[in-house]
Symmetry: D2
Subunit: 331 residues, 4 copies
């Protein structure tokens, strides 16, 4: 039995907490939030207690923390938890600055605790099946990866202004997938951003809403990523890998399999509308992986080093889109 304390009682924290309480090998003991009443409400609904950080980290019954607070506190909470000897499950990203991520990696290493970064897409059943077949050699060596990642609609403009920007907040998932699928670290990135969806993304959100990127590894393998904040037909999440012996694709998923054929046209479902529905299985599966690593004392499947490497790509993408030139990566 792994006993958890949850930090962050917002949308993502709640989802993780619900996944936790459905399990027979884990228990949720505490919920911590900067708004104690939010923590209390969630804790009570799930049979846990509201508490503060100090109480949680000093309780020897707590084996693991699940950090789902806003990005700015991820690293400090992780470092504190590491020092208290707790296993750490931290939502991505660990931090928006390389320095903090490195500091966190060092603290975790010193404390010898497992730390898992929640790049949940690696646990999506379709992407995972694709990766497994890739690793089994089904299509030979990888030559090209195409990642389509499109949100269904603009988030709140205030969120955008504080998000770190499209590359750090959104493309970061694709960088993680790209590294995972290419099988080699990217050594060069080229990025173009644009505001095509809504001019307020620039004026109020201080961000871009559309991007196309290219990544290249040392042996010449290539990856294309395309992003938008608004695909009106739903949450568009596809992956395609071209190899020497074939192609593997993970297509979109849909809520139902109903198809309609009327006098005008043949229609099916659009993709799932948002990340909660599309990646529900992935969120549950990543928790399983983390709990397994806590129980077996094996390293986390997504350690914070992965977060560092992805952050390097984000920063390079940002620089590339600002200078209009490709940027080399030093891992």
């Amino acid at each position: 039995m792994v006993n958890f304390a949850l930090f962050g009682a917002g949308r993502i924290g709640r989802m993780h907490a619900e996944n936790l309480v459905r399990r027979s090998d884990a228990r949720l003991l505490y919920v911590v939030d900067t708004k104690p009443e939010a923590a209390r409400a969630l804790a009570e609904a799930l049979g846990a207690k509201q508490a503060d950080t100090e109480k949680v980290l000093s309780d020897p019954d707590v084996n693991a923390v699940l950090i789902a607070t806003s990005t700015g506190s991820h690293a400090d909470l992780s470092i504190a938890a590491a020092r208290a000897g707790k296993a750490i499950f931290c939502e991505k990203p660990v931090d928006l600055t390389l320095a903090k991520v490195e500091q966190c990696i060092a603290a975790v290493k010193k404390a010898k605790v497992p730390m898992f970064v929640g790049f949940n897409r690696r646990f999506d059943p379709s992407f995972r099946a694709l990766k497994k077949r890739l690793d089994a050699g089904e299509i030979g060596s990888v030559e090209q990866v195409i990642i389509t990642n499109r949100d269904p609609g603009l988030p709140d403009l205030r969120f955008l202004a504080s998000s770190g920007g499209l590359f750090l907040d959104f493309t970061i998932h694709d960088f993680d997938m790209a590294r995972w699928l290419l099988g080699e670290e990217p050594v060069e990135v080229f990025a173009w951003g644009a505001v095509l969806v809504d001019p307020r993304v620039r004026t109020e959100g201080k961000d871009i809403d559309t991007a196309m990127l290219l990544l290249r590894t040392v042996s010449g393998k290539m990856c294309h990523i395309n992003n938008t904040r608004r695909a009106v037909y739903g949450y568009d999440q596809r992956i395609e890998v071209l190899g020497a012996k074939g192609m593997l694709r993970a297509a979109n998923l849909t809520p139902t399999s109903v198809e309609s054929f009327g006098a005008q046209a043949a229609c099916g479902d659009n993709p799932w509308p948002n990340f909660q529905t599309r990646y529900a299985a992935a969120y549950a599966a990543e928790l399983t992986s983390f709990i397994h690593s806590v129980q077996t004392r094996k390293p986390a499947e997504i350690p914070p080093e992965d977060s560092r490497n992805v952050l390097l790509l984000c920063e390079a993408a940002l620089r590339s889109s600002q200078t209009g030139k490709p940027v080399k990566i030093k891992n």
Copy 2:
């Protein structure tokens, strides 16, 4: 909060129990089984208690029973639960004889308790979406229904010998779907059975393994059903409805969306392998419906009368396949 007692600690009972304990509006108090140790093991794993029928039916804290025992005891347990004033969720079929089903309907009516029969497929998200669009008039009036229901592989031959036969054990689901989708009671049925999969189905299982049927309503709407006990490519569950203004189809679902394109051919996933995986969402949803009707004191969405009408179709199909002639139905 609806407090449940579960009868039957087998495969289906366990699945329902797990769906129950994940809910915040229901509680599992007791597990009853003819093998007390099986009941105890399941009860302990889920925070409930093992008990016998008398204890359960006399406990005023129990609001509802979930009957997942072998078919032969469904009706008697339902009748006993009705007399004790408990709401009833009963796995299909209520019984293999019309007389018992009628007896059960009468007992439920007299006791004024809701009784819900677990024809889970009506709660499958895809079939349900199809039905909703049908009811909304998307394809006009129904003319033809095609139901494909194929099991992935032969069950144990001893199970077959005690199952009631293909029509009562397996096609019964399709009869329920046919009635639901046609929007009119069938008045005639024609059926052919055959043993094409394995001759032991006849010799040891005393059954058939393959069937094709036709149903017809009073206004001439038609339905085709095809069944096999062995579709090697997976659990094949499809529905197609032709209407005056178009066609609605619910295609198979697959575990992932991965497609593979090699030098030889383009490949995707086969359908989900069995009913537990394919209809997982339906099993959870039917429980929601039942609990809702218990809480709101509304009639069950699938009352035992539906079980009776479907049984009429099963019997007619059996007679048709034995006489080689179509059989008229009197509802």
Copy 3:
């Protein structure tokens, strides 16, 4: 070089003629029609001559006749052509009465000329590929065949009244496919017809517009056929074969591969709208087969005996739908 005379300058005759003149191994010499001016117009457009039957059958340069007249004259023209020693390509059906078909078979046998009946669907690339894979054992022995054959819209009601009825005019194609795919002659047929599309089909057309049928072979293999005269979403032509080792399906074809994903739903093309567009390749391919058999003096790939056997099925279907009982076939 095979020199042809065409009988019948209507829609189908013109299509065959255009396929003929595109070939380098065949030539169209004459066009014959009961309306000489129609024959002349078509002949001139394609570099051929208008002529009458006598002239055509006595011209030693003519190797082959292509009979695309109205059904009533198929048999007599075939018999006359056989007596004149010409190879015969005859549109389906050879005749609506068994007696005439037998007479025609006898004449062809006596004259030792090849006669090919234009069941064009056997030459559709998709159906043909399915059959080839079936014959190669890809899915083991056949157990079930499902044939969907739906016209996009009602023909002229006067045509219906003179067509021989749905089974002889329309289902006849499916009977041919069923025999071809089952690999055994059907020995029993059961049929239900209905008027669901338009009541004038009965009152003016003296016909039905909707049908469902079952066929069974001596070893128990089964086939389902469903028909309608009106599928508003297009010309619906699908085949599915279940075997011991898998399933083969031929899905509908569409004019383009464009898919549209809007805020409401995901849409693609509907199927091709009519038989000319859907089976264009089949019409050209059957001509190739016929010409090849003429050149190599091999028997026609679809001899008139096939037309006889299919006619037996049509008559049995008609009897079944009239009596409400299955009808046994004696081949």
Copy 4:
């Protein structure tokens, strides 16, 4: 009636010639080739005559020339034909140098003859349907275009060495599609090439076999192109356009619609194997367009100016891939 002379009796020339002779509004009078015997063989098979350039251009019966020679002679033949007052259908590209293309444009303008460049993909029914729906506003304004263009296997290495390189020989089609679909001229291009398929492509072919590119228009619309010379699963030709109101996709086409479902996996056809099969309809349709413009004296649908603009993109792509920097375009 448009009377044609064909230049070039090779693979592409023969295909155009066969499309021509099937038409009732065009005639093939002459075939010209640097190998007179090849010209003679093709001419005789199709009812035309072998001739030399001088004879053809001085024959007043010739209205139009179809130039399907090797690339190096396209421009000179076009200029000569223009001076002789003939309408010109020229295979892409007009030339590999901008200077020659401009010279050709000038000659055509001066002679006031129509000149059509054979970017056949614009006439592919699927791509054309996509474009039509795009132009009709179905998905609002274009934001992103994704073009997948992958050959099924390496051509002869000697061909590569003389082809002008991947961008000029192969990507040129994608540049044409990109311009057509973006609705604005690209103003910037970024390209990466690699040799991932076979090292001899570099050593013997003096070329690359893999590429990823990005294009950008002045208003920020973006396009991604990916290329390979070897996709073992077939000729991969897909287009995807994201707009403000939705997405349009043109998927691959397959020879048949057969799907196979075995115990291991669900399989369908791979895409068509090569450009002749995939774009057969496009080749016929572009000829129709050209003949129509000759008959109606309207400008060619693909004038040589389009070839010039595409060549600008090819050269920029080449420069970008050599310098590792994006290159700005001046149209």
